[in-house]
């Protein structure tokens, strides 16, 4: 198992490296005149010339690249052209918000999707099963952005049950602001006992989380159901029944273990998808996360910010993929592969 994981880790690093390099060169090659934007529209020629030197844009490309990589290894992702703040700081503010809703959506998808998928497989071809199959197919067929908009119209606007957008009502921001400890709004407000803020953030997060969770949920239900159906056909399940083991154990202990690996892998991959959807969903719900940040950066052609976000994104995917690989490797057949005894 170790060797397998090491290979996957190595591939991950390779991918990360390739993507970062690619993005760097792309951002330098595209004509966008970062120096101009750094100094603003009303700057003089000297200011601009000074900016060029300051940003290191006068050096040859490969020197810029080496400087970039060196700084990156120290944790410096450069300064945003637009805000003149370190990209790393801006990311540190935006990332936790995105992670909050993505994490919650994955939890929702798993804890709702798995049991439904299992129940569906056990009672397959019943009314419940047909309904759930239809629902899960439906849910992965919906365009996420449209679903978000429909939720806004229906639940926020028409029914008024939940807020339309944002993370925290301005009123609360003023009356009981959240002290920043971890950067995760919900965690911080909980830890400091700030219930008003906590509930408020929770209410605001419900619609984005539901929208994000929908695709993962559908995928989880489908995957669980189809794999469990296959597993239930296996001889070893027939054997455990023949040995007289209780059906509940047969399914929830012996069959499930064969399913979990694939389900978690699917979840990891759909978490990756959620990260992409977040780009649009944060815009629709005005949630202050990475999605919003990158939208603005792209609009302003803020290349250090773009590169910074790309690094974060690639890093996340490499981590997610590695996590999925670890789960796959937990299968005893891979873990204890002796090179074949039979």
């Amino acid at each position: 198992m170790g060797k397998y994981l090491l290979t996957r880790l190595w591939t991950g690093f390779f991918v990360l490296f390739a993507v970062i390099t690619f993005t760097f060169f792309l951002s330098r090659v595209i004509p966008s005149d970062p120096a101009q934007r750094w100094v603003g529209a009303h700057a003089t020629e000297e200011q601009k010339a000074a900016a060029v030197i300051e940003l290191g844009l006068d050096k040859p490309l490969h020197v810029q690249y080496l400087g970039f990589m060196r700084k990156l290894l120290k944790g410096n992702m450069g300064i945003s052209i637009v805000s003149h703040r370190p990209v790393l700081d801006e990311l540190k503010e935006a990332i936790p918000n995105t992670l909050e809703i993505v994490f919650l959506s994955v939890l929702l998808a798993f804890f709702l999707g798995l049991p439904i998928g299992v129940y569906s497989a056990i009672h397959d071809n019943t009314f419940f099963d047909h309904i759930m199959r239809f629902v899960s197919v439906g849910v992965i067929s919906v365009p996420t952005f449209w679903f978000a908009m429909m939720l806004q119209i229906l639940i926020a606007n028409y029914l008024g049950w939940l807020p339309l957008s944002g993370q925290l009502d301005t009123v609360i921001k003023l009356t009981s602001p959240i002290t920043r400890i971890t950067g995760f709004a919900m965690v911080d407000s909980l830890v400091t006992g700030n219930w008003t803020a906590f509930w408020n953030v929770l209410k605001h997060s419900i619609l984005p989380v539901i929208t994000l969770a929908s695709y993962s949920f559908g995928l989880t239900v489908r995957m669980t159901r189809s794999i469990l159906l296959e597993v239930l056909e296996e001889d070893f399940i027939k054997a455990s029944r023949a040995w007289g083991i209780r059906e509940r154990l047969v399914i929830w202990r012996f069959a499930i273990k064969n399913v979990i690996g694939a389900v978690v892998t699917v979840l990891a991959l759909s978490a990756g998808n959620a990260l992409v959807s977040t780009f649009v969903i944060e815009a629709i719900f005005s949630w202050p996360g990475i999605g919003n940040y990158i939208a603005l950066s792209v609009m302003n052609l803020d290349y250090p910010a773009i590169v910074g976000v790309t690094i974060f994104a690639s890093f996340s995917y490499v981590v997610l993929n590695f996590f999925a690989d670890v789960v796959v490797a937990m299968d005893p057949r891979i873990r204890f592969a002796e090179g074949g005894r039979e």
């Binding site: 023949a242 040995w243 273990k257 299968d331 204890f336 039979e342």
Partner: protein, 321 residues
């Protein structure tokens, strides 16, 4: 040995397929006595596995028992509820081992976890160490060396013969005295096969275990069974004491089957083959009628009943009585 363990009367099982209903099994009678090993031989598709699954009531979804009685130790199995089936019969009174030992063991659990689960299921309230003790006892019963180490291994780390022994141990660990072996030696090497057969024989003498030994290998079944039955197209065409059936086969199918086995005399001659597929289309009469060189007009009209040709030897054929 006294007493009939299993008695089957007019058992019929049909399957629902895309092309309509199909009868897979139709056995007029079959009996297994206490401490007896009955061999059941047939080609693929003859309905052997269906019989085994019907006995334990673990038929696949689209197959069901449509007629007949299964009487196990005097109890009509139709009167047994699913709950009692699981609690009192499966694993406890009737045990079964399947063809592919690798497929019968859950690949993501250790041997101990699997056999332990069965022990715990049938003997509630045992402590961990008691369960382990019993597991080791069972593994010793099936003549496995180093049971302690074996318990901690995963199925893929063990050889085929070991797996099959573990399966026998697991199947019997709750005290069943009736074992159905559904082609259990098919995927094993010849020498390992012999070991398993010897084990079954020793379990018979030591435990009084009755076995229904299902196989497509006539020679194998014959070497371990006292009585042997031949299945064709879901019907029992011949049954009797092994030596008698082998030396004096009465059904033409049995004759054909036996003649296909290579012997010293047939060494340099071309191998014989049974013509015709195992019948899929059925008419009203004997299933073998189309392929039988000895068939007469009455064979296609009536299904022959099992006719006694003396000394416990029965044949389902109109032309051989």
């Amino acid at each position: 040995m006294t007493g009939t363990v299993l008695s089957i009367e007019n058992l019929a099982c049909t399957a629902k397929t895309l092309w309509g209903k199909q009868t897979l099994l139709d056995i007029s009678r079959l009996e297994i006595g206490d401490g007896e090993i009955l061999g059941l031989v047939g080609e693929s598709g003859s309905g052997k596995s269906i019989l085994a699954q019907a006995l334990l009531r673990i038929l696949p979804g689209n197959v069901s028992k449509t007629a007949g009685k299964i009487i196990f130790r005097g109890v009509d199995m139709d009167t047994v509820s699913e709950r009692d089936m699981r609690r009192a019969y499966r694993g406890k009174q009737m045990a079964m081992i399947f063809q592919d030992p690798m497929a019968s063991l859950n690949p993501v659990f250790t041997v101990f976890q699997q056999i332990g689960a069965v022990i715990r299921e049938h003997y509630r309230g045992l402590s961990s160490s008691q369960v382990k003790e019993r597991a080791i006892e069972m593994l010793k019963l099936v003549k496995l060396s180093d049971p302690d180490i074996t318990l901690g291994k995963y199925p893929h780390e063990l050889s085929g013969g070991m797996r099959q022994r573990i399966l026998i141990a697991t199947a019997l660990c709750s005290g069943a005295k009736f074992l159905i072996s559904d082609e259990a030696t098919r995927s094993l090497d010849v020498t390992i096969q012999a070991g398993i057969l010897k084990l079954l024989e020793s379990l018979r003498t030591d435990l009084g275990l009755s076995t229904l030994f299902i196989s497509s290998n006539m020679a194998l079944a014959a070497s371990v069974s006292e009585r042997i039955g031949i299945l064709y197209g879901g019907n029992l065409v011949e049954i009797g004491r092994t030596e008698k059936v082998l030396s004096d086969p009465r059904h033409f199918y049995t004759k054909l089957f036996l003649s296909c086995l290579p012997t010293q005399e047939s060494k340099n001659k071309p191998m014989k083959v049974v013509k015709g597929l195992v019948a899929v289309k059925f008419g009203n009469g004997c299933k073998f009628a189309d392929a039988c060189p000895d068939a007469g007009p009455e064979c296609k009209k009536m299904v022959p009943a099992l006719i006694d040709v003396g000394d416990g030897h029965f044949v389902s054929c109109l032309r051989r009585s």
